[in-house]
Point group: C2
Chain length 249, copies 2
DNA sequence: ACCCTATTGTCTCATTTTGTTACATTAATA
DNA sequence: TATTAATGTAACAAAATGAGACAATAGGGT
């Protein structure tokens, strides 16, 4: 009924990646969380690294498998390497709930070090698809997540800190928004990430003086008020993989 | 004549750490580089992770083994996971130059992912000691390093970028300087890390208004000029391991 | 003892950046 | 056509930073 579980020969032992995939729906910052069949366990999407595969490529592959998106911002931000983070009991629960026979020495029950990535994607373009171990994958607001298994809550918190630190450097807005957007929406991205209100006029002035935006036609949204301009980012920033980032930083 | 090489049973396969250990001698930023016996190969100090050991603990242990220092600033900053970074030919050279018989399937010749750390230490307190594979370990100015093996030059460059980014956040000076120091020396640390000259008066005003320093007695160094005050940092910042940093960030 | 020199600590003023408020503009609606 | 609410920008205040001036002072030289 189910495919074979991942085989020992194909993957590096003890090594995994997990991804915190951020999206923005216009008002809230969300991340993708998957739920495993018949277990009530929620987890970040993650996977294993093939024996001859770059770790970055593994994370990129996993993202593509789950979202169908290929050219997106994806950056490694931390590696979780505590011995106690590994939970063979939980891994066994997940595998058995999927009908696998799990030998005691099965490699997935071993200790795992996880290299964590965060991705920024345009919420509208994504139709997440579950894999064979999970029965669904959904967007959840970062401040209202289900209880995540193992240390995944910690991984999310660290990702949020890093995202805040990189907010200006990495032109986060460009990666979370559609190509054209209003100043108000851009401000809401910033507010959602920082978790605080910003002053409208100061924000607008700041963004405009940074000289990163191009102004386009107005957006007539139907509201009984002056129509805002649409903007886009001036320079199409190359999508960064973590390795690019080292050089471009 | 030589001890046994590291054994497969004791360590996690495919996983290593490397440390960029920064020190400041009063005018230049330096790092510790080791040279392997009879090979002309220069490398960052690194090592392997024991099967039941936290990765942070492994890096800490390695630092202690090489410097004798125990309570120092040590923070993980990046994980290098490209397949092509591993160089079994070079590892073989190093092992054979030390008189080891190296079987073709020896685990150290496999692919390795390296978790990189940077450390900040008080240059004066350190008497580096070589391990059994290296014949010496020495301070080198960051802008005048010997040619490093594999991707270690890249690791250093990434460490420097991270150090610059964290210069203010992490109170770097506290970790690179002796307990009491003059404003001039503090400024030189900043200049060495940033790689640029700073304005004396602006720097002094900035540091004082940050309200982080305590002023002590003057330092009569023997120069024919007004004696500068000595300063120390107000709050003894707890030494951070990478795991602490997640929470304290 | 007295001047000279180099460095230090602080002050002042100019410039830039940011905070805050005000106000005219304008798209839809009644 | 007046009303309403969001928008773009200007204007002024406050804060931060840049740049220079200057008095204080620990030695050295005479």
């Amino acid at each position: 009924m189910l495919k074979q579980p991942p085989s020992f020969e194909e993957y590096l032992p003890h090594l995994a990646y997990d991804s915190v995939i951020f999206g923005f729906n216009g008002s809230e910052l969300k991340i993708l969380v998957l739920e495993y069949h018949n277990t009530g366990l929620f987890a970040l999407p993650g996977g294993f690294v093939k024996r001859y595969e770059d770790v970055d490529a593994a994370a990129k592959r996993g993202l593509w498998e789950r979202t169908g998106l290929d050219n997106i911002f994806l950056e490694q931000f931390y590696t979780f390497g505590n011995f106690s983070r590994s939970r063979p009991d939980i891994m066994r629960t997940i595998l058995e709930a999927n009908g696998f026979e799990v030998p005691d020495d099965y490699w997935i029950l071993d200790r795992f070090i996880s290299i964590a990535y965060y991705a920024l994607i345009n919420y509208d373009e994504v139709m997440p698809k579950p894999d064979e171990l999970s029965d669904n994958i959904n967007w959840y607001p970062v401040d209202n997540l289900p209880k995540l298994m193992m240390d995944h809550q910690l991984i999310v918190e660290k990702a949020l800190l890093i995202l805040r630190e990189n907010l200006d450097k990495k032109l986060v807005g460009m990666n979370l928004l559609p190509p054209k957007f209003t100043m108000q929406v851009l401000q809401k991205v910033y507010e959602a990430i920082l978790g605080e209100k910003l002053r409208r006029t100061t924000f607008q002035r700041k963004m405009l003086t940074l000289d990163l935006l191009v102004r386009h036609e107005k957006l007539f949204s139907g509201g009984a008020h002056k129509a805002p301009y649409l903007y886009s980012f001036k320079h199409k920033m190359a999508v960064q993989t973590a390795e690019d980032a080292i050089l471009s930083n």
